[in-house]
């Protein structure tokens, strides 16, 4: 099978003011696969993830160098000429802590479409149902779509945030430690969901939990001190890492 790339990171450097946070990163992102970013805290994995939808543009003094090319149209995601809003409309993100808006369940999912100016009820209805089904939440909430999102449990809220991200048909879906605030049952539901979703969308996930990376991802990149130490198929990384540092991290000797 020919590998198909969704995106490719080339010589990416990132600076918080004078702090050099990401150094010379190169990484392929395979289409419709799950790529996991692992590494000890502070290694830059979340910083790296937030480059993909230009979240760093929200704060002053942040600077990118290099390229993240999005295929097939060959756009450089981090180019200053490209509007961050254009990127964020195509690359969605699910955060560490569930962050639903203080709105109804329905309006939370419809938010991204409304931002884009969609207001036809029929279109919204259809998209909301499809996204909630996609996030395996439909059956639990279909009778109370106009309830406030805060009424849901933590795990349900996180699946609502996934539905919100799916509603706009993203080309890449970013997960930033999506289960770190959840209990084990809710965590395994989200993990199942991620595995299902990769049939439709390319996924990048940051996780501090190595078992989780092993369970859900196809490819894994191990990061340390702002650099990618090793990148390979997930089973290779976890069974036969080529780098000593990776091995020590995976076997739990540091991190």
């Amino acid at each position: 099978m020919v590998k198909e790339l969704k995106a490719e990171v080339k010589k990416l450097n990132f600076y918080y003011g004078s702090l050099h946070a990401l150094k010379e990163i190169n990484l392929p992102i395979e289409r419709r696969k799950v790529t996991a970013l692992i590494g000890p805290s502070g290694c830059g994995k979340t910083t790296f993830l937030r480059c993909f939808n230009r979240m760093h543009d929200l704060y002053p003094h942040n600077r990118y160098e290099g390229e993240i090319t999005l295929y097939p149209d060959n756009i450089n995601i981090i180019s200053p000429e490209i509007d961050p809003i254009e990127i964020r409309m195509q690359i969605s993100m699910v955060f560490q802590k569930p962050n639903p808006f203080p709105k109804s369940i329905y309006e939370n999912v419809a938010y991204g479409l409304r931002v884009r100016g969609v207001s036809k009820r029929a279109v919204l209805d259809e998209k909301v149902e499809k996204s909630l089904r996609g996030a395996a939440l439909w059956d639990e909430v279909k009778d109370r779509l106009n309830h406030l999102a805060f009424d849901l449990s933590g795990g349900q809220q996180q699946r609502l945030c996934i539905a919100r991200a799916l509603a706009t048909d993203p080309r890449i879906l970013l997960f930033d430690e999506p289960t770190s605030a959840l209990d084990p049952t809710a965590t395994s539901k989200i993990e199942e969901l991620i595995i299902q979703l990769k049939d439709e969308v390319t996924i990048i996930i940051v996780t501090h939990n190595m078992q989780q990376a092993a369970r859900v991802s196809d490819y894994t990149a191990f990061m340390y001190l702002g650099e990618i130490v090793e990148y390979d198929k997930t089973d290779r990384i976890f069974t036969a890492p080529s780098n000593k540092l990776t091995e020590e991290y995976i076997t739990g000797r540091f991190g």
């Binding site: 939808n53 979240m55 929200l58 002053p60 809003i85 254009e86 964020r88 409309m89 969605s92 993100m93 955060f95 560490q96 802590k97 962050n99 639903p100 808006f101 203080p102 709105k103 938010y111 991204g112 409304r114 931002v115 884009r116 945030c161 919100r164 991200a165 706009t168």
Partner: protein, 296 residues
């Protein structure tokens, strides 16, 4: 042993003194209620409550006095409404601009200057409304009388912007960053994030800000006493002169209203009406502000 006892007595005495100081604030409230109630009780012995609240004429200083408070209430509500029509959109826009748009440096400079608006003595605002704004407005609105509700209303509206914007900014700051990021990550602009996510999240705090603003406008005295005129007038027309509850109290206090006369007691009757109007808004505002802290 003796030293320990002495120390205990000293600590106890200090704590009691401090406690009494804190408790004194409660006595102030009680005194306000007692004084207002006592003096207006005398008033209501001579004027029926029904006449007071349903009469449409307020002429206590005339030979044939009428004691219907409605014209003063309508005057108060009219100037307050004008102030709110100015302060609501301006205050909200300023808050959104300062808390979501303005760069840190701009905010650091503009905020203290805006707060000066609340520091200007209100008698100066009254001067400005009467002698500067009214003549200018008269050029555009020929029907505007020299004393009117419009001009002091507008000035009061701008005057309360700092009160409104500082409380609503606190409320908007209390909305956690990760909620905003959720919106930005969907491709929303600052405007969309502010109006669709941040303001709804901070709603009760912003509502509290406006209620505090209403209460300020109702209690504001000098601007209306100087620029709105001294005529109790049951009207909703902002171009006409009106008299507010507060301006009436000033008018009587300036003249000679000997202790114990009905005129003297009317200012307490007007005062207690004013007190309960603002009390209602203050309690509502306090309750709403408390709710912000409970949401997140």
């Amino acid at each position: 042993m003796k030293r320990k006892l002495a120390r205990k007595i000293k600590e106890g005495a200090i704590e009691t003194t401090l406690f009494l100081s804190a408790l004194s604030s409660v006595f102030i409230t009680i005194s306000i209620v007692v004084v207002l109630a006592y003096e207006s009780f005398g008033f209501f012995k001579e004027v029926s409550i029904k006449e007071f609240f349903t009469g449409t004429q307020w002429t206590p200083l005339f030979a044939n006095p009428k004691f219907g408070i409605l014209p003063l209430i309508s005057g108060t509500l009219l100037t307050t409404s004008i102030a709110l029509i100015v302060a609501l959109p301006l205050g909200l826009t300023v808050t959104v601009y300062l808390s979501e748009y303005a760069p840190h440096r701009v905010r650091e400079v503009i905020k203290p200057i805006l707060e000066l608006l609340a520091a200007v003595p209100t008698v100066v605002y009254g001067y400005f409304a009467l002698l500067f704004l009214t003549p200018i407005l008269q050029k555009f609105i020929p029907d505007l009388s020299g004393f009117n509700a419009l001009s002091p209303g507008i000035i009061m509206g701008i005057m309360i912007i700092p009160y409104v914007s500082s409380v609503s900014e606190d409320a908007m700051k209390a909305v956690p960053m990760h909620i905003r990021e959720g919106s930005y990550a969907m491709g929303a602009t600052k405007l969309q994030t502010a109006f669709k996510v941040v303001i709804p999240s901070a709603f009760s705090g912003i509502a509290a800000a406006f209620i505090i603003g209403i209460s300020r406008a109702i209690g504001e005295t000098m601007v209306v006493a100087i620029a709105a005129g001294g005529m109790p007038n049951l009207t909703a027309n902002p171009l006409e002169p009106v008299q507010t509850l507060t301006a009436y109290i000033v008018q009587v206090s300036l003249g000679d209203a000997p202790h114990g006369t009905v005129e003297y007691k009317t200012i307490f009757a007007a005062g207690i009406t004013l007190f309960f109007m603002t009390l209602g808004f203050n309690i509502l505002g306090f309750w709403l502000r408390k709710r912000i802290r409970e949401v997140y």
